[in-house]
């Protein structure tokens, strides 16, 4: 039905118009008939470069050919700014192939062909992107335009490697709400009822001296004094001691997170660590047991002993039960997603599709993570038992697991704002190394520290959304926008590795938060099917609300699907033909119009009755007017 509209997605449209469309999903709203008014008049914007605040064009190459894997070669103008790579086709008919790619997405740039290259479009540059696509441009040898394009791209896409600042430090657009205030650590702990009898807030890490990759504010067992915390930190890898992630509102069972204990080959023990773990267990009166969920495969955990790490022995930790969740490390995940990219881009080979999905193992890893989170949820919710989660360093798999388990347990995190808080808390404040894993502005594309850990977690969230379509306040569009800006370097949110670095670099004052941008256009992300508890936010609880408090997904490959809307989105033949959300939105909009009309008509009616000196009709139910 909408093949023409849908091909618009080809260009990632990062900035068709400054405010209205800065991510790859904006053509969604165009294809909706509700918004068709805006959709139809966009072509005059399409193709023109729309500069963001403080964005400057740094290089222009004319007569460049974009070798589109789907539409074939397209001639046009290639511009490079300090934020994006922009390609505008010359032919007005090909304008839907306009490209606008934030340079943060670029992973590496290569020259293709040399002076002696023969054949059409064999001489140019190829841009490899972090978002599952490659862009190939062909230059005319005689124009000598390749060199300047390449050098500008190299410099601007990898500013950190060239001693330049990231674009986020130049960009200063003002939004009505400041997203840096979305997450207030103390307020979030208060929401969970801390301080209470068992847990206290400590500022022992205020200067990031006890643990440089942890936040300044922790919640720890009330019975643990600061000296104990310091000695526990000495026994945990990089000082990442067990601290509170989430507490169950009624049973007081907790999820705590940390890094591996420094057991080593000799099997070292720490009385303080053992006592501290006992205090975590004691803080939950409902159970006499604690589960330690080690995210790694047991073989990896054992291998870590040789490097001084390891895992808690059940002999040393009384009443603790150790479970290995068998989730593989960052290198395995990087390789898995690489295979998936080969499968999805540029062309999908139908004969290899299913076997390729299997061979990439991506969905198996997703299943493993979901299953691990389900086990945590089961212990906390059904057995009222506290769970301690760690992997090696406690910033990759641990963050995946705790954040996912919290999303399943607590409906608050399934609201738009709650989700932002969850990312700020479990990922950013607890030091997931975004800079290392993404490599913002860094040209070392083959760095072994890069890994799609966060994207993998977002995929898990998407799986939950798919399984429970009414449980989330936001749609997959929010998730894709977050993934887009994970790379874009337009916002400060995902820059740097730790809270400490962000404070030092004054990210909150020098850059804009992604949440400022998202919260200023919330309507685009809201799920029309949402029945969750926040639908009774301000108004009295409606009889509709039936919060699904705990989500327990099925961790089976029969239900876990490939997220085509993310991984296959550059392929115009893999887009959703007619997104069901748009249809739902239409219905909801129609209902709202009718409600307004009914209210107005009822008002008119009452007024007329009043003029006639009659008593107004009895108002039937609180739902009328």
């Amino acid at each position: 039905m909408d093949k023409h509209n849908s091909s618009e997605i080809l260009n990632s449209d990062f900035s068709l118009s400054k405010n209205a469309s800065s991510d790859s999903l904006d053509s969604d709203s165009k294809s909706s008939s509700l918004n068709s008014k805006h959709g139809q008049d966009s072509p005059h914007v399409l193709g023109d470069i729309q500069l963001l605040d403080n964005e400057k064009v740094m290089s222009v190459a004319r007569d460049v050919t974009y070798v589109c894997p789907f539409m074939g070669p397209i001639r046009g103008v290639l511009k490079v700014t300090n934020y994006q790579l922009h390609f505008r086709p010359l032919d007005a008919a090909a304008l839907q192939c306009t490209l606008s790619v934030p340079l943060g997405v670029v992973s590496r740039i290569e020259k293709v062909g040399g002076a002696s290259s023969k054949g059409e479009n064999s001489y140019g540059i190829e841009v490899f992107c972090k978002d599952m696509r490659n862009l190939r441009f062909a230059h005319k040898q005689e124009n000598h335009s390749r060199r300047s394009s390449f050098e500008k791209l190299q410099q601007l896409a990898f500013p950190l490697s060239h001693g330049l600042p990231l674009f986020a430090f130049s960009y200063s657009e003002h939004f009505p709400e400041d997203g840096w205030h979305v997450f207030e650590p103390i307020a979030e702990l208060r929401r969970m009822g801390v301080n209470n009898d068992m847990w206290r807030i400590t500022r022992i890490n205020d200067k990031y001296e006890v643990c440089d990759s942890y936040p300044a504010v922790w919640a720890v067992p009330a019975a643990a004094n600061d000296d104990l915390l310091r000695s526990v930190a000495a026994f945990r890898s990089r000082g990442r001691i067990p601290v509170l992630a989430w507490i169950h509102p009624s049973s007081q069972a907790t999820i705590t997170r940390c890094s591996q204990p420094l057991v080593g080959v000799s099997g070292k023990r720490s009385r303080e660590d053992e006592r501290y773990i006992q205090l975590i267990m004691d803080a939950n009166a409902q159970a006499h047991k604690l589960f330690i969920m080690d995210a790694r495969p047991s073989a990896n955990a054992i291998a870590n002993k040789a490097k001084g790490g390891g895992y808690e022995s059940e002999d040393a930790y009384q009443n603790a039960e150790l479970v290995f969740l068998d989730i593989h490390n960052i290198h395995v995940m990087r390789e898995s997603l690489r295979k998936l990219k080969e499968l999805c881009f540029p062309q999908i080979d139908p004969t290899r599709w299913f076997s390729g999905i299997e061979a990439s193992c991506w969905l198996k890893h997703i299943k493993c993570i979901l299953a691990g989170a389900v086990r945590i949820v089961d212990k906390v919710e059904n057995h009222k038992t506290s769970v301690l989660v760690h992997c090696s360093d406690g910033w990759d798999r641990t963050a995946q697991l705790t954040a996912l388990a919290m999303l399943m347990l607590d409906p608050y995190y399934r609201t738009l704002r709650g989700f932002e808080v969850l990312i700020e808390k479990e990922w950013l404040s607890f030091g997931h190394k975004f800079q290392l894993r993404i490599g913002h502005g860094d040209e070392r594309h083959s760095d072994a520290d890069r890994s799609p850990v966060f994207v993998q977690w977002v995929d898990c969230v998407w799986q939950l959304q798919q399984q429970f379509p009414t449980a989330f306040e936001f749609t997959e569009r929010l998730l894709i926008t977050i993934v887009d800006h994970l790379y874009s370097c337009r916002f400060g949110t995902f820059l740097f590795n730790t809270e400490r670095e962000r404070v030092k670099e004054e990210v909150k004052t020098k850059t804009v938060s992604l949440w400022s941008y998202i919260n200023s256009r919330q309507d685009l992300y809201l799920n029309p099917l949402y029945w969750g508890p926040s639908s009774f936010g301000t108004s009295p609880p409606s009889p509709y609300s039936r919060p699904q408090v705990v989500l327990v997904p099925v961790a089976s490959l029969r239900v876990i699907k490939l997220w085509k809307a993310l991984y296959c989105r550059w392929n115009p033949t893999m887009r959703q033909q007619d997104p069901i959300y748009q249809r739902t939105r239409e219905l909801v909009a129609l209902r709202a119009q009718l409600e307004a009309a009914a209210a107005a008509a009822a008002g008119d009616h009452a007024a007329r009755q009043h003029r006639l000196g009659l008593t107004p009709p009895r108002v039937a139910s609180p739902h009328q007017v």
């Binding site: 299913f354 209902r591 139910s621």
Partner: protein
């Protein structure tokens, strides 16, 4: 990892019931009886049978009696549970009943889930039958244990089942015994394509003037023995020429018209050309006639669905029927694990299994062919589909092509008419494909080749489902409708899918078979269940289309309005039809999950819209009635439904959703708000 499912109270362990208790229980057990239809007889029974819950820990199950009648296999639980009422209710079949023709494979077990041995119809029966596993044709798995039953009960019921579920003669099917009178209440829009006037109506609907009706196939000169009496052919072709040409086509399947546009392009289907000396020339002569039936004399475009002698076995062509059957068997294997261990083992290599079944590739190929045909027809080029006997893939692709082009086919009546036309009037051999005995004497089998069973109709339904997924607002029916239709294909009480060709049906009717079309859904389902057959989004899109048509003051009579859907045809765009194939896999059936939530939500919103419309209307006419207060009191609480609703096995839903909540909304009721529908544009 839902092994630790909440235990539903009425599921008790009977594995450890001591034999002594059995004796006592037997007395009371004899009391339960299955509900019998008029003409239905019990032919076998076993008591103190435990129906085990599939894919659960071994000892979960329900105690009751198992009956075999001449119509169904029926399990009657000793104690009823509110969950029994939770799923789709059928007037003719209980929750735990299966029509005998729906029984696929039967296995004897040792009472446990692992060791099993396949029973063959009319084969040997082991001396002891401790348990039975029955895999139904709709992929439901039933597991019974006779460990607590009186001696020999298991064996007797198994013998009765094997004897009656696989009859050797067509007239042993229950449809011949069922004595309940039938009073048709079919809507007039449903075209049954049984009489020449039905075909005339279709020709007129499509406004195709260059084609004519011939009834020669109803005379002694009939050449296309498996089709009905009425055929539509180019006006310029004489009956004599048809008879001549028919000799060169397999099964006499000359190209016949099935659909067309007023602009001239038509869709035809035919059988393969036989390899005779003159076949090529006769084909070109006939295609020339087809060309002359086009007002612009555009030459027709021929699609060889199974490849042809020139192209050989090109990739992308549809497989031979035995390969399709093999593909289906692998799909069944993937969707019918009998143990939880087996379930998780398949899970670890799920995509390999899915890939090796090749099922979705066949689905994708059918849709690709239909898209190709639709593209040509949209360009006003006549398209001829050609395949083997012209009764299998021709029907699939022809139907899909019409669904892609003609919005009428996407309504419920239009879809049912389409099935009547392409599958029944043009003679898809349902008996053969579904594995039923052929009508008439069994001696014929020596000359005629053995019947090939193949799930061609399921392939078609699956393709339609893929389209409904790609275009969620384009079809008037829901996936529940399609799934239910597939279930009904195996319910041999209805005559719709019971014959190989219209002639066989006429002969049977002559022998007092009561015709009972499956389309009369009220025969089986209550309003609440039928409401789920409708797609709520279609109501909105069709109301909008009607409003737009009014606004553009289109004259309503411009033939079939062409509204082409362009589906993605890559196998990567295909999904497994979870509701149809996986609905009995309890671990997946989680409350509040799955796409059914959309439908529930949309239905609700529509109902509120309808109420608001009514309220607006009553306000706008300034009716002074104070009775306003009665409507829209408290909206009822939202129902909790699980993933495979309404086919869920029942996971203790607090309250089954009532009919009002799910009620079907007539698009015309939405027209009240046409001004509002216009507004957002």
């Amino acid at each position: 990892m839902n092994e630790k499912k909440r235990l539903v109270q009425n599921f008790k362990s009977y594995i450890n019931v001591s034999p002594k208790n059995n004796g006592e229980k037997n007395g009371s057990l004899q009391e339960v009886k299955p509900k019998l239809l008029n003409g239905e007889l019990i032919v076998g029974a076993a008591h103190s049978v435990v129906m085990l819950t599939p894919l659960s820990e071994r000892d979960r199950g329900r105690l009751g009696s198992l009956f075999v009648t001449n119509y169904k296999l029926s399990f009657v639980p000793l104690e009823t549970s509110p969950n029994d009422e939770y799923c789709q209710q059928n007037y003719l079949l209980g929750t735990y009943d299966v029509p005998l023709t729906a029984v696929g494979a039967v296995w004897v077990t040792d009472g446990g889930p692992v060791k099993r041995r396949r029973l063959k119809p009319y084969g040997d029966m082991p001396g002891k039958v401790k348990g039975l596993q029955i895999v139904c044709k709709n992929m439901k798995v039933l597991i019974f244990s006779f460990a607590n039953s009186p001696i020999d009960n298991g064996r007797k019921v198994a013998m009765a089942l094997m004897h009656h579920a696989f009859p050797k003669r067509h007239d042993l099917l229950f449809a011949y015994e069922y004595k309940e009178p039938y009073y048709p209440t079919l809507p007039s829009e449903l075209n049954m394509f049984q009489r020449p006037s039905d075909w005339k109506r279709e020709l007129e609907r499509c406004e195709c003037v260059h084609w004519r009706i011939t009834c020669i196939n109803g005379t002694s000169d009939a050449f296309m023995l498996t089709a009905g009496e009425t055929l539509i052919v180019p006006s310029s072709v004489l009956d004599y020429n048809l008879m001549e040409t028919a000799r060169h086509f397999r099964s006499g399947r000359v190209p016949v018209w099935v659909w067309g546009r007023p602009e001239g392009a038509a869709l035809l289907r035919s059988g393969e050309l036989l390899q005779t000396d003159q076949s090529a020339s006769t084909e070109s002569v006939l295609l020339e006639q087809v060309r002359r039936s086009h007002p612009k004399l555009t030459p027709p475009y021929v699609i060889y669905l199974c490849g042809n002698s020139y192209s050989g076995n090109a990739s992308g062509v549809l497989p031979p029927l035995d390969a399709l059957q093999a593909s289906y068997k692998k799909l069944v294997e993937l969707c019918t694990p009998t143990t939880l261990g087996g379930f998780w083992m398949q899970d670890s290599q799920y995509y390999s299994y899915l890939d090796s079944s090749r099922w979705l590739r066949h689905v994708a190929s059918c849709i690709a062919f239909a898209d190709d045909a639709a593209a040509h027809l949209a360009d006003n080029v006549t398209t001829v589909l050609q395949e083997g006997d012209g009764v299998d893939y021709c029907a699939v692709v022809s139907c899909l092509t019409q669904l892609l082009l003609d919005p009428h086919c996407r309504t419920v009546a239009g879809f049912q008419s389409l099935v009547q036309k392409e599958w029944l009037a043009l003679g898809h051999p349902f008996c053969d494909r579904l594995g039923l005995p052929r009508p008439g004497s069994s001696k014929e089998t020596k000359d005629t080749p053995a019947a090939q069973t193949a799930p061609v109709f399921l392939l078609f339904l699956d393709c339609v489902w893929q389209l409904t997924q790609q275009f969620p607002a384009a079809f008037a029916f829901s996936e529940t409708y399609l799934t239910t239709l597939w279930d009904c294909v195996h319910n041999h009480l209805f005559d719709t899918f019971l014959f190989n060709c219209p002639k066989d049906r006429e002969l049977a009717v002559g022998r007092n078979l009561i015709q009972r079309p499956v389309w009369d859904w009220g025969e089986q389902f209550a309003d609440a269940d039928r409401a789920l057959f409708h797609n709520p989004l279609f109501a909105v899109s069709s109301a909008r289309a009607a409003v737009n048509a009014q606004r553009l003051s289109q004259t309503p009579n411009t033939g079939p309005r062409l509204d082409r859907l362009e589906p993605w045809c890559s196998v990567a765009a295909m999904e497994l039809w979870s509701q149809c194939y996986e609905r009995w896999l309890a671990p997946l059936d989680v409350p509040d999950s799955g796409p059914v939530q959309y439908q529930i939500h949309h239905n609700r919103t529509l109902r509120e819209i309808k109420q608001l419309n009514e309220k607006l209307n009553s306000l706008s006419i300034l009716s002074n009635r104070q009775s306003n207060g009665e409507e829209s009191s408290e909206p009822p609480a939202a129902p909790v439904v699980s993933r495979f609703f309404p086919f869920s096995a029942g996971h203790g839903a607090p309250a089954a959703p009532d009919a009002m909540q799910l009620g079907h909304i007539d698009p015309m009721q939405l027209l009240d708000s046409q001004s509002l529908l216009n507004a957002p544009d």
